[in-house]
Symmetry: C2
Subunit: 200 residues, 2 copies
């Protein structure tokens, strides 16, 4: 005895999502039973639509349903600064902060030779093309603070050596409100190294 086939399939599908194990998948699949009809329809349709409607922006590789994403088609933004991120999710994070008004560029991944991800796999050519075409003044690197992120940042710096463009990287350091005793040694070292003079 087991669940009816439809529910079994649904449990299997939920289990394919990150962080969802057998028990959670079961609970989520059964909770679909009690959704309103409209939510149920919207849910099923949205999952289908993700495959058919969602594309990558031709300019910056962000998620979009059009040729250009909302940011690339916004004429009021500063077109000469590009913030390089490694996940479309991070664009939303920066936009929530609201203080950045430049463009973005979404890498497909971070360089990680051990995992077979080489510089030519992460959509850097498009970035170079944009720098040349749009007369970009500054590239702000805002990728994940990891070995892969640092490797990618260094590679981009080297790639742009000969071009007339400033490359910067968002600051590493102690997050506001953090409990100092839980900060790892590397972060502390970087925070110390990048200290800022606050009086003469």
């Amino acid at each position: 005895m087991n669940y009816p086939p439809t529910i079994r399939h649904l449990i299997e599908c939920f289990k394919k999502l990150p962080g969802i194990g057998e028990k959670t998948a079961e609970r989520l699949a059964l909770s679909i039973l009690s959704l309103d009809d409209e939510v149920n329809d919207l849910f099923a349709d949205s999952i289908k639509n993700v495959k058919t409607k969602i594309k990558r922006c031709q300019k910056c590789n962000n998620l979009t349903e059009n040729d250009l994403c909302d940011i690339c088609s916004d004429t009021s933004r500063d077109k000469q600064v590009i913030c390089v991120v490694d996940d479309p999710k991070n664009i939303i994070l920066f936009e929530k902060v609201g203080s950045y008004s430049g463009m973005y560029h979404v890498l497909n991944n971070l360089i990680s030779p051990l995992d077979g991800i080489n510089p030519e796999d992460i959509n850097l050519e498009q970035l170079i093309k944009r720098i040349d075409e749009d007369k970009i003044k500054e590239i702000i690197i805002a990728v994940k603070p990891s070995i892969e992120g640092e490797t990618t940042a260094l590679y981009i710096v080297k790639l742009l050596e000969k071009k007339d463009v400033v490359v910067s990287k968002i600051a590493n350091g102690i997050p506001i409100g953090a409990d100092m005793e839980y900060i790892d040694a590397l972060t502390l070292e970087m925070a110390l190294e990048d200290r800022k003079k606050i009086s003469e």
Copy 2:
């Protein structure tokens, strides 16, 4: 700037599921993007099918795609014992144990007057009907060990007072492997009360 509409809808749908907040919904919705085409189709179809194909068994109220569930249509089971549960999920749990070969009855809910759930709302008439029609010898109550569960159990006992049927309830006590210091007082009290002689 926000996600494209399809992804926004998907995030909203995930948020309707139990235990899924904003961040998790976002992560799950974005992970749908990287599912294989077949899994994506199966996922969307299964969600739709849950509403159209999944019904309640006409006899025991279990989830099924037919008129009778797999257990009610299994002729090899003991038709004169009914285990009363408050969630179809618990049938799967009992079936995994494998030592029970009787029938089941799924209540729609547990009695909870404060939440407006009265005895007539939880599918007890069908249970009474089955007791009369199928000459049931024993009813095993296996509902959640809570105030609502106890209320429901007591109500069932009272309801069946005049009928020639044994009513039993699965044992409460210390779970095997539990750390005694984390067992609550009520459980300990019940375990003490229901102690079993192991030598004369």
